[in-house]
Symmetry: C2
Subunit: 243 residues, 2 copies
Protein backbone atom coordinates (compact mmCIF):
# COMPACT_ATOMS: atom_id res chain seq x y z
CA UNK A 1 0.00 0.00 0.00
CA UNK A 2 1.18 3.52 -0.72
CA UNK A 3 0.05 5.44 2.29
CA UNK A 4 0.68 8.87 3.63
CA UNK A 5 3.45 8.19 6.13
CA UNK A 6 6.66 6.31 5.36
CA UNK A 7 7.23 7.95 1.96
CA UNK A 8 8.58 11.35 2.93
CA UNK A 9 7.05 11.79 6.36
CA UNK A 10 3.92 13.85 5.98
CA UNK A 11 3.21 12.84 9.58
CA UNK A 12 0.57 14.40 11.82
CA UNK A 13 -2.11 12.83 9.61
CA UNK A 14 -5.00 11.33 11.52
CA UNK A 15 -4.81 7.54 11.58
CA UNK A 16 -6.41 5.77 8.65
CA UNK A 17 -8.99 3.98 10.81
CA UNK A 18 -10.07 7.34 12.19
CA UNK A 19 -10.41 8.87 8.76
CA UNK A 20 -12.63 5.96 7.80
CA UNK A 21 -14.75 6.42 10.92
CA UNK A 22 -15.08 10.12 10.15
CA UNK A 23 -16.09 9.35 6.60
CA UNK A 24 -18.78 6.91 7.69
CA UNK A 25 -20.11 9.31 10.30
CA UNK A 26 -20.22 12.09 7.78
CA UNK A 27 -22.16 9.98 5.28
CA UNK A 28 -24.68 9.18 7.98
CA UNK A 29 -24.98 12.70 9.32
CA UNK A 30 -25.42 14.15 5.85
CA UNK A 31 -28.18 11.66 5.21
CA UNK A 32 -26.36 9.96 2.34
CA UNK A 33 -26.57 6.67 4.21
CA UNK A 34 -29.96 6.22 5.82
CA UNK A 35 -30.88 4.30 8.92
CA UNK A 36 -31.09 0.57 8.30
CA UNK A 37 -29.31 0.83 4.99
CA UNK A 38 -26.31 -1.35 4.22
CA UNK A 39 -23.00 0.43 3.85
CA UNK A 40 -20.12 -0.72 1.60
CA UNK A 41 -18.36 -3.89 2.63
CA UNK A 42 -15.03 -3.95 4.39
CA UNK A 43 -13.37 -5.04 1.18
CA UNK A 44 -14.94 -2.19 -0.77
CA UNK A 45 -13.91 0.42 1.77
CA UNK A 46 -10.42 -1.04 1.91
CA UNK A 47 -10.11 -0.56 -1.84
CA UNK A 48 -11.64 2.91 -1.68
CA UNK A 49 -9.29 4.11 1.05
CA UNK A 50 -6.38 2.06 -0.19
CA UNK A 51 -5.81 0.36 3.17
CA UNK A 52 -5.81 -3.20 4.45
CA UNK A 53 -9.10 -4.78 5.39
CA UNK A 54 -8.00 -4.99 9.04
CA UNK A 55 -7.88 -1.22 9.15
CA UNK A 56 -11.41 -0.91 7.84
CA UNK A 57 -12.42 -3.67 10.21
CA UNK A 58 -11.20 -1.69 13.19
CA UNK A 59 -13.04 1.44 12.09
CA UNK A 60 -16.34 -0.38 11.56
CA UNK A 61 -15.96 -2.47 14.70
CA UNK A 62 -15.50 0.62 16.81
CA UNK A 63 -18.50 2.31 15.23
CA UNK A 64 -20.44 -0.83 15.96
CA UNK A 65 -19.31 -0.75 19.59
CA UNK A 66 -20.45 2.86 19.69
CA UNK A 67 -23.93 1.85 18.44
CA UNK A 68 -23.56 3.76 15.22
CA UNK A 69 -23.55 0.64 13.04
CA UNK A 70 -24.94 -2.86 13.29
CA UNK A 71 -22.89 -5.64 11.83
CA UNK A 72 -24.24 -9.04 10.88
CA UNK A 73 -21.81 -11.76 10.03
CA UNK A 74 -22.42 -13.14 6.60
CA UNK A 75 -24.79 -10.33 5.76
CA UNK A 76 -23.30 -6.88 6.01
CA UNK A 77 -22.95 -3.64 7.93
CA UNK A 78 -25.95 -1.41 8.45
CA UNK A 79 -26.60 2.06 9.78
CA UNK A 80 -27.99 1.65 13.29
CA UNK A 81 -31.16 3.16 14.60
CA UNK A 82 -30.90 6.80 15.34
CA UNK A 83 -30.03 7.46 18.95
CA UNK A 84 -32.65 8.69 21.31
CA UNK A 85 -32.26 12.19 22.45
CA UNK A 86 -31.34 10.90 25.83
CA UNK A 87 -29.23 11.98 28.69
CA UNK A 88 -27.38 9.97 31.23
CA UNK A 89 -27.32 10.95 34.85
CA UNK A 90 -24.48 9.60 36.85
CA UNK A 91 -25.26 8.62 40.39
CA UNK A 92 -22.18 8.62 42.55
CA UNK A 93 -21.77 7.79 46.15
CA UNK A 94 -22.29 10.70 48.46
CA UNK A 95 -18.86 10.78 50.10
CA UNK A 96 -17.03 11.01 46.77
CA UNK A 97 -19.46 13.57 45.55
CA UNK A 98 -18.98 15.84 48.51
CA UNK A 99 -15.21 15.56 48.48
CA UNK A 100 -15.21 16.20 44.74
CA UNK A 101 -16.86 19.53 45.55
CA UNK A 102 -14.00 20.20 47.95
CA UNK A 103 -16.27 19.99 50.97
CA UNK A 104 -16.13 18.02 54.17
CA UNK A 105 -18.07 14.79 54.40
CA UNK A 106 -19.15 13.26 57.68
CA UNK A 107 -21.35 10.25 58.27
CA UNK A 108 -23.32 9.90 61.49
CA UNK A 109 -24.65 6.49 62.43
CA UNK A 110 -28.18 6.94 63.63
CA UNK A 111 -29.30 3.37 64.00
CA UNK A 112 -27.84 -0.09 63.53
CA UNK A 113 -30.02 -3.08 64.33
CA UNK A 114 -31.22 -6.50 63.45
CA UNK A 115 -34.55 -6.20 61.77
CA UNK A 116 -37.31 -8.69 61.21
CA UNK A 117 -38.44 -8.14 57.66
CA UNK A 118 -42.07 -7.85 56.72
CA UNK A 119 -43.54 -9.53 53.67
CA UNK A 120 -42.85 -6.62 51.29
CA UNK A 121 -39.21 -6.39 52.26
CA UNK A 122 -38.76 -10.16 52.02
CA UNK A 123 -40.16 -10.03 48.53
CA UNK A 124 -37.66 -7.34 47.60
CA UNK A 125 -34.85 -9.49 48.94
CA UNK A 126 -36.25 -12.59 47.25
CA UNK A 127 -36.16 -14.37 50.60
CA UNK A 128 -38.68 -16.62 52.31
CA UNK A 129 -40.15 -16.22 55.77
CA UNK A 130 -37.56 -18.69 57.04
CA UNK A 131 -34.84 -16.04 56.69
CA UNK A 132 -36.45 -12.86 57.83
CA UNK A 133 -33.58 -11.49 59.89
CA UNK A 134 -31.99 -8.56 58.08
CA UNK A 135 -29.58 -5.84 59.13
CA UNK A 136 -30.83 -2.29 59.14
CA UNK A 137 -28.79 0.90 59.30
CA UNK A 138 -29.63 4.57 59.16
CA UNK A 139 -26.78 6.97 58.47
CA UNK A 140 -27.01 10.74 58.06
CA UNK A 141 -24.47 12.24 55.68
CA UNK A 142 -23.33 15.81 56.24
CA UNK A 143 -21.69 18.24 53.88
CA UNK A 144 -19.85 20.82 55.96
CA UNK A 145 -22.13 19.94 58.88
CA UNK A 146 -25.31 20.46 56.87
CA UNK A 147 -27.33 17.24 56.61
CA UNK A 148 -27.71 16.35 52.97
CA UNK A 149 -28.70 12.68 52.88
CA UNK A 150 -30.40 10.11 55.06
CA UNK A 151 -29.32 6.63 54.04
CA UNK A 152 -31.86 4.04 55.14
CA UNK A 153 -30.45 0.64 54.29
CA UNK A 154 -31.41 -3.01 54.72
CA UNK A 155 -28.69 -5.61 54.23
CA UNK A 156 -28.82 -9.34 53.58
CA UNK A 157 -26.81 -11.07 56.36
CA UNK A 158 -25.86 -13.86 53.99
CA UNK A 159 -23.87 -11.39 51.91
CA UNK A 160 -22.33 -9.26 54.65
CA UNK A 161 -22.42 -11.22 57.92
CA UNK A 162 -20.12 -8.75 59.72
CA UNK A 163 -22.19 -5.70 58.83
CA UNK A 164 -23.21 -5.04 62.43
CA UNK A 165 -19.60 -4.85 63.62
CA UNK A 166 -18.56 -2.00 61.34
CA UNK A 167 -17.81 1.58 62.29
CA UNK A 168 -19.92 3.56 59.89
CA UNK A 169 -18.52 6.85 61.09
CA UNK A 170 -15.19 6.12 59.43
CA UNK A 171 -16.47 4.15 56.45
CA UNK A 172 -19.80 4.49 54.71
CA UNK A 173 -21.99 1.39 54.46
CA UNK A 174 -21.64 1.78 50.73
CA UNK A 175 -17.85 1.61 50.84
CA UNK A 176 -17.94 -1.37 53.18
CA UNK A 177 -20.41 -3.30 51.07
CA UNK A 178 -18.65 -2.73 47.79
CA UNK A 179 -15.46 -3.97 49.42
CA UNK A 180 -16.81 -7.18 50.92
CA UNK A 181 -19.41 -7.95 48.31
CA UNK A 182 -18.44 -6.95 44.78
CA UNK A 183 -21.42 -5.54 43.03
CA UNK A 184 -23.09 -7.51 40.28
CA UNK A 185 -26.04 -5.36 39.46
CA UNK A 186 -28.07 -2.39 40.53
CA UNK A 187 -31.67 -1.39 40.11
CA UNK A 188 -32.65 2.11 41.03
CA UNK A 189 -35.44 4.61 40.92
CA UNK A 190 -35.48 8.35 41.48
CA UNK A 191 -38.63 9.70 43.04
CA UNK A 192 -40.02 12.77 44.67
CA UNK A 193 -41.59 12.06 48.03
CA UNK A 194 -42.61 13.80 51.23
CA UNK A 195 -40.38 12.95 54.17
CA UNK A 196 -41.65 11.17 57.24
CA UNK A 197 -41.21 12.98 60.57
CA UNK A 198 -38.02 11.09 61.39
CA UNK A 199 -36.35 11.82 58.06
CA UNK A 200 -37.41 15.47 58.25
CA UNK A 201 -35.91 15.81 61.67
CA UNK A 202 -32.65 14.15 60.70
CA UNK A 203 -32.36 16.42 57.69
CA UNK A 204 -33.44 19.45 59.73
CA UNK A 205 -36.09 20.33 57.18
CA UNK A 206 -39.76 21.25 57.23
CA UNK A 207 -42.11 18.34 56.76
CA UNK A 208 -43.83 20.39 54.06
CA UNK A 209 -40.74 20.37 51.89
CA UNK A 210 -40.42 17.43 49.51
CA UNK A 211 -37.46 15.07 49.25
CA UNK A 212 -35.59 13.78 46.25
CA UNK A 213 -35.30 10.05 46.87
CA UNK A 214 -33.01 7.53 45.25
CA UNK A 215 -34.07 3.94 45.88
CA UNK A 216 -31.54 1.31 45.08
CA UNK A 217 -31.41 -2.47 45.14
CA UNK A 218 -27.99 -4.03 44.71
CA UNK A 219 -27.13 -7.64 43.92
CA UNK A 220 -24.03 -9.57 44.84
CA UNK A 221 -23.08 -13.21 44.82
CA UNK A 222 -26.29 -14.03 43.04
CA UNK A 223 -28.47 -12.63 45.80
CA UNK A 224 -30.05 -9.32 46.66
CA UNK A 225 -27.41 -7.77 48.89
CA UNK A 226 -28.93 -4.50 49.94
CA UNK A 227 -32.04 -2.38 49.57
CA UNK A 228 -31.65 1.28 50.34
CA UNK A 229 -33.46 4.57 50.20
CA UNK A 230 -31.41 7.77 50.03
CA UNK A 231 -33.43 10.80 51.12
CA UNK A 232 -32.32 14.33 50.19
CA UNK A 233 -34.02 17.63 50.99
CA UNK A 234 -35.27 19.19 47.75
CA UNK A 235 -33.82 22.57 48.63
CA UNK A 236 -30.32 21.23 49.14
CA UNK A 237 -29.91 18.51 46.58
CA UNK A 238 -30.39 17.70 42.91
CA UNK A 239 -28.91 15.30 40.40
CA UNK A 240 -27.11 17.25 37.73
CA UNK A 241 -24.89 16.69 34.77
CA UNK A 242 -24.19 17.53 31.18
CA UNK A 243 -23.78 15.75 27.96
Amino acid sequence: MSRTPSTTAVVAATPAFQRIKDHVLQQIQSGQWQQGQAIPSEAALARQFNVARMTVNRALRELSDEQTLNRVQGSGTFVAQQKYQSTLVQLRNIADEISARGHQHRGQLQRLERYKADAALLRQFELTAAQQQLFHSVVVHFENDVPIQVEDRYVNPAVAPDYMAQDFGSQTPNAYLTRVAPLQGVQYAIEASMPGPEVAELLRMEITEPCLVLRRCTRSQGQVASVSALWHPASRYQFTGSF
Copy 2:
Protein backbone atom coordinates in the same frame (compact mmCIF):
# COMPACT_ATOMS: atom_id res chain seq x y z
CA MET B 1 1.29 -20.06 16.26
CA SER B 2 -0.34 -23.26 17.50
CA ARG B 3 -3.74 -22.13 18.56
CA THR B 4 -6.89 -23.91 19.49
CA PRO B 5 -8.74 -23.81 16.19
CA SER B 6 -7.36 -25.06 12.89
CA THR B 7 -5.64 -28.14 14.30
CA THR B 8 -8.56 -30.49 14.83
CA ALA B 9 -11.37 -27.97 15.23
CA VAL B 10 -12.05 -27.57 18.91
CA VAL B 11 -14.15 -24.62 17.85
CA ALA B 12 -16.55 -22.77 20.16
CA ALA B 13 -13.53 -21.45 22.05
CA THR B 14 -13.79 -17.83 23.07
CA PRO B 15 -11.62 -15.60 20.90
CA ALA B 16 -8.05 -15.12 22.05
CA PHE B 17 -8.45 -11.37 22.58
CA GLN B 18 -11.43 -12.08 24.84
CA ARG B 19 -9.51 -14.64 26.87
CA ILE B 20 -6.79 -12.06 27.38
CA LYS B 21 -9.34 -9.45 28.46
CA ASP B 22 -10.84 -11.94 30.89
CA HIS B 23 -7.42 -12.74 32.28
CA VAL B 24 -6.58 -9.09 32.86
CA LEU B 25 -9.94 -8.41 34.46
CA GLN B 26 -9.52 -11.39 36.72
CA GLN B 27 -6.07 -10.28 37.85
CA ILE B 28 -7.49 -6.87 38.70
CA GLN B 29 -10.59 -8.16 40.43
CA SER B 30 -8.62 -10.63 42.51
CA GLY B 31 -6.33 -7.82 43.60
CA GLN B 32 -3.23 -9.36 42.02
CA TRP B 33 -2.79 -6.23 39.94
CA GLN B 34 -3.45 -3.12 41.98
CA GLN B 35 -4.71 0.24 40.85
CA GLY B 36 -1.99 2.34 39.22
CA GLN B 37 0.31 -0.62 38.83
CA ALA B 38 1.89 -1.44 35.48
CA ILE B 39 0.76 -4.66 33.86
CA PRO B 40 2.92 -6.82 31.56
CA SER B 41 3.74 -5.35 28.17
CA GLU B 42 1.99 -6.34 25.00
CA ALA B 43 5.03 -8.35 23.98
CA ALA B 44 5.11 -10.23 27.27
CA LEU B 45 1.42 -11.07 27.14
CA ALA B 46 1.79 -12.14 23.51
CA ARG B 47 4.48 -14.61 24.55
CA GLN B 48 2.49 -15.76 27.57
CA PHE B 49 -0.67 -16.43 25.58
CA ASN B 50 1.19 -17.52 22.50
CA VAL B 51 -0.56 -15.05 20.22
CA ALA B 52 0.49 -12.19 17.98
CA ARG B 53 1.04 -8.79 19.54
CA MET B 54 -1.88 -7.37 17.53
CA THR B 55 -4.20 -9.71 19.40
CA VAL B 56 -2.95 -8.50 22.75
CA ASN B 57 -3.13 -4.97 21.45
CA ARG B 58 -6.81 -5.33 20.69
CA ALA B 59 -7.53 -6.76 24.13
CA LEU B 60 -5.70 -3.99 25.96
CA ARG B 61 -7.03 -1.27 23.70
CA GLU B 62 -10.60 -2.33 24.36
CA LEU B 63 -9.97 -2.44 28.11
CA SER B 64 -8.51 1.01 27.82
CA ASP B 65 -11.60 2.21 25.96
CA GLU B 66 -13.66 0.71 28.75
CA GLN B 67 -11.70 2.71 31.34
CA THR B 68 -10.25 -0.39 32.95
CA LEU B 69 -6.68 0.37 31.89
CA ASN B 70 -4.68 3.47 31.09
CA ARG B 71 -2.11 3.21 28.37
CA VAL B 72 0.79 5.60 27.91
CA GLN B 73 2.78 5.42 24.75
CA GLY B 74 6.41 4.79 25.46
CA SER B 75 5.72 4.01 29.08
CA GLY B 76 3.35 1.14 29.63
CA THR B 77 -0.12 -0.03 30.55
CA PHE B 78 -1.53 0.63 34.01
CA VAL B 79 -4.55 -0.42 35.99
CA ALA B 80 -6.97 2.50 35.93
CA GLN B 81 -8.56 4.09 38.92
CA GLN B 82 -11.27 1.99 40.40
CA LYS B 83 -14.66 2.92 39.10
CA TYR B 84 -17.04 4.81 41.25
CA GLN B 85 -19.96 2.84 42.37
CA SER B 86 -22.06 4.87 40.09
CA THR B 87 -25.17 4.38 38.13
CA LEU B 88 -26.33 6.01 34.98
CA VAL B 89 -29.88 7.08 34.55
CA GLN B 90 -31.06 7.44 31.03
CA LEU B 91 -33.40 10.29 30.35
CA ARG B 92 -35.45 9.66 27.25
CA ASN B 93 -38.01 11.77 25.62
CA ILE B 94 -41.48 11.21 26.92
CA ALA B 95 -43.13 10.12 23.70
CA ASP B 96 -40.61 7.34 23.07
CA GLU B 97 -40.79 6.28 26.66
CA ILE B 98 -44.54 5.93 26.65
CA SER B 99 -44.65 4.07 23.35
CA ALA B 100 -41.87 1.79 24.58
CA ARG B 101 -44.22 0.81 27.39
CA GLY B 102 -46.80 -0.01 24.75
CA HIS B 103 -49.05 2.83 25.81
CA GLN B 104 -50.68 5.67 23.97
CA HIS B 105 -48.96 9.06 23.95
CA ARG B 106 -50.82 12.30 23.33
CA GLY B 107 -49.50 15.84 23.55
CA GLN B 108 -51.86 18.73 24.26
CA LEU B 109 -50.70 22.23 23.50
CA GLN B 110 -51.68 24.43 26.39
CA ARG B 111 -49.94 27.66 25.51
CA LEU B 112 -47.81 29.00 22.69
CA GLU B 113 -46.69 32.62 22.85
CA ARG B 114 -44.01 35.18 22.43
CA TYR B 115 -42.51 35.92 25.77
CA LYS B 116 -40.50 38.86 27.02
CA ALA B 117 -37.74 37.32 29.07
CA ASP B 118 -36.84 38.60 32.49
CA ALA B 119 -33.26 39.01 33.65
CA ALA B 120 -32.89 35.51 35.05
CA LEU B 121 -34.11 33.86 31.87
CA LEU B 122 -31.91 36.08 29.72
CA ARG B 123 -28.95 35.02 31.79
CA GLN B 124 -29.81 31.39 31.22
CA PHE B 125 -29.99 32.01 27.50
CA GLU B 126 -26.78 34.06 27.60
CA LEU B 127 -28.62 36.87 25.84
CA THR B 128 -28.64 40.61 26.45
CA ALA B 129 -31.65 42.83 27.06
CA ALA B 130 -31.56 43.75 23.37
CA GLN B 131 -32.90 40.31 22.45
CA GLN B 132 -35.47 39.56 25.07
CA GLN B 133 -38.15 38.09 22.84
CA LEU B 134 -38.34 34.34 23.35
CA PHE B 135 -40.88 31.69 22.41
CA HIS B 136 -42.71 29.94 25.19
CA SER B 137 -44.73 26.75 24.98
CA VAL B 138 -46.55 24.63 27.52
CA VAL B 139 -47.48 21.11 26.47
CA VAL B 140 -49.17 18.46 28.59
CA HIS B 141 -48.17 14.89 27.78
CA PHE B 142 -50.67 12.11 28.42
CA GLU B 143 -50.12 8.40 28.80
CA ASN B 144 -53.40 6.65 28.01
CA ASP B 145 -55.18 9.94 28.81
CA VAL B 146 -53.56 10.31 32.21
CA PRO B 147 -51.42 13.47 32.38
CA ILE B 148 -47.87 12.50 33.15
CA GLN B 149 -45.74 15.49 32.20
CA VAL B 150 -46.04 19.22 31.84
CA GLU B 151 -43.39 20.52 29.49
CA ASP B 152 -42.71 24.20 30.09
CA ARG B 153 -40.26 25.35 27.46
CA TYR B 154 -38.59 28.57 26.36
CA VAL B 155 -36.97 28.65 22.94
CA ASN B 156 -34.41 30.97 21.39
CA PRO B 157 -35.94 32.43 18.20
CA ALA B 158 -32.50 32.66 16.62
CA VAL B 159 -32.26 28.88 16.64
CA ALA B 160 -35.83 27.95 15.74
CA PRO B 161 -37.50 30.95 14.06
CA ASP B 162 -40.51 28.90 12.91
CA TYR B 163 -41.27 27.49 16.34
CA MET B 164 -44.57 29.35 16.66
CA ALA B 165 -45.92 27.87 13.44
CA GLN B 166 -45.64 24.24 14.49
CA ASP B 167 -48.44 21.85 15.37
CA PHE B 168 -47.34 20.45 18.69
CA GLY B 169 -50.23 18.02 18.84
CA SER B 170 -48.72 15.93 16.07
CA GLN B 171 -45.05 16.49 16.89
CA THR B 172 -43.52 17.20 20.28
CA PRO B 173 -41.46 20.38 20.67
CA ASN B 174 -38.58 18.09 21.46
CA ALA B 175 -38.88 16.21 18.18
CA TYR B 176 -39.21 19.47 16.25
CA LEU B 177 -36.22 21.08 17.87
CA THR B 178 -33.92 18.13 17.44
CA ARG B 179 -34.86 18.04 13.79
CA VAL B 180 -34.28 21.72 13.00
CA ALA B 181 -31.45 22.35 15.44
CA PRO B 182 -29.12 19.41 15.94
CA LEU B 183 -28.20 19.18 19.56
CA GLN B 184 -24.70 20.06 20.65
CA GLY B 185 -24.94 19.77 24.40
CA VAL B 186 -27.30 19.37 27.30
CA GLN B 187 -27.22 20.41 30.91
CA TYR B 188 -29.80 19.00 33.22
CA ALA B 189 -30.86 18.76 36.81
CA ILE B 190 -33.35 16.51 38.53
CA GLU B 191 -35.17 18.05 41.44
CA ALA B 192 -38.10 17.51 43.73
CA SER B 193 -40.41 20.49 43.87
CA MET B 194 -43.95 21.43 44.81
CA PRO B 195 -46.12 22.26 41.80
CA GLY B 196 -47.63 25.66 41.29
CA PRO B 197 -51.42 25.81 40.96
CA GLU B 198 -51.33 25.79 37.18
CA VAL B 199 -49.07 22.74 36.94
CA ALA B 200 -51.10 20.91 39.57
CA GLU B 201 -54.27 21.55 37.63
CA LEU B 202 -52.81 20.45 34.32
CA LEU B 203 -51.53 17.27 35.93
CA ARG B 204 -54.80 16.76 37.82
CA MET B 205 -52.96 16.34 41.10
CA GLU B 206 -53.22 17.73 44.60
CA ILE B 207 -51.08 20.77 45.27
CA THR B 208 -49.80 18.98 48.38
CA GLU B 209 -48.19 16.24 46.30
CA PRO B 210 -44.63 16.93 45.15
CA CYS B 211 -43.36 16.80 41.58
CA LEU B 212 -40.29 15.20 40.13
CA VAL B 213 -38.81 17.89 37.90
CA LEU B 214 -36.26 17.58 35.15
CA ARG B 215 -34.76 20.90 34.12
CA ARG B 216 -32.86 20.93 30.92
CA CYS B 217 -30.88 23.47 28.94
CA THR B 218 -29.92 22.50 25.40
CA ARG B 219 -27.38 24.12 23.11
CA SER B 220 -27.33 24.21 19.34
CA GLN B 221 -25.38 26.20 16.78
CA GLY B 222 -23.21 27.60 19.52
CA GLN B 223 -26.13 29.17 21.37
CA VAL B 224 -28.53 28.19 24.09
CA ALA B 225 -31.42 26.81 22.10
CA SER B 226 -33.97 25.90 24.71
CA VAL B 227 -34.57 25.96 28.44
CA SER B 228 -37.24 23.61 29.72
CA ALA B 229 -38.76 22.26 32.88
CA LEU B 230 -40.52 18.90 32.77
CA TRP B 231 -42.91 18.45 35.67
CA HIS B 232 -44.13 14.99 36.70
CA PRO B 233 -46.46 14.05 39.55
CA ALA B 234 -44.49 12.07 42.13
CA SER B 235 -47.16 9.41 42.36
CA ARG B 236 -47.13 8.69 38.64
CA TYR B 237 -43.55 9.06 37.59
CA GLN B 238 -40.02 8.07 38.51
CA PHE B 239 -36.72 7.67 36.70
CA THR B 240 -35.67 4.05 36.79
CA GLY B 241 -33.05 1.78 35.38
CA SER B 242 -30.56 -0.90 36.07
CA PHE B 243 -26.94 -1.47 35.61
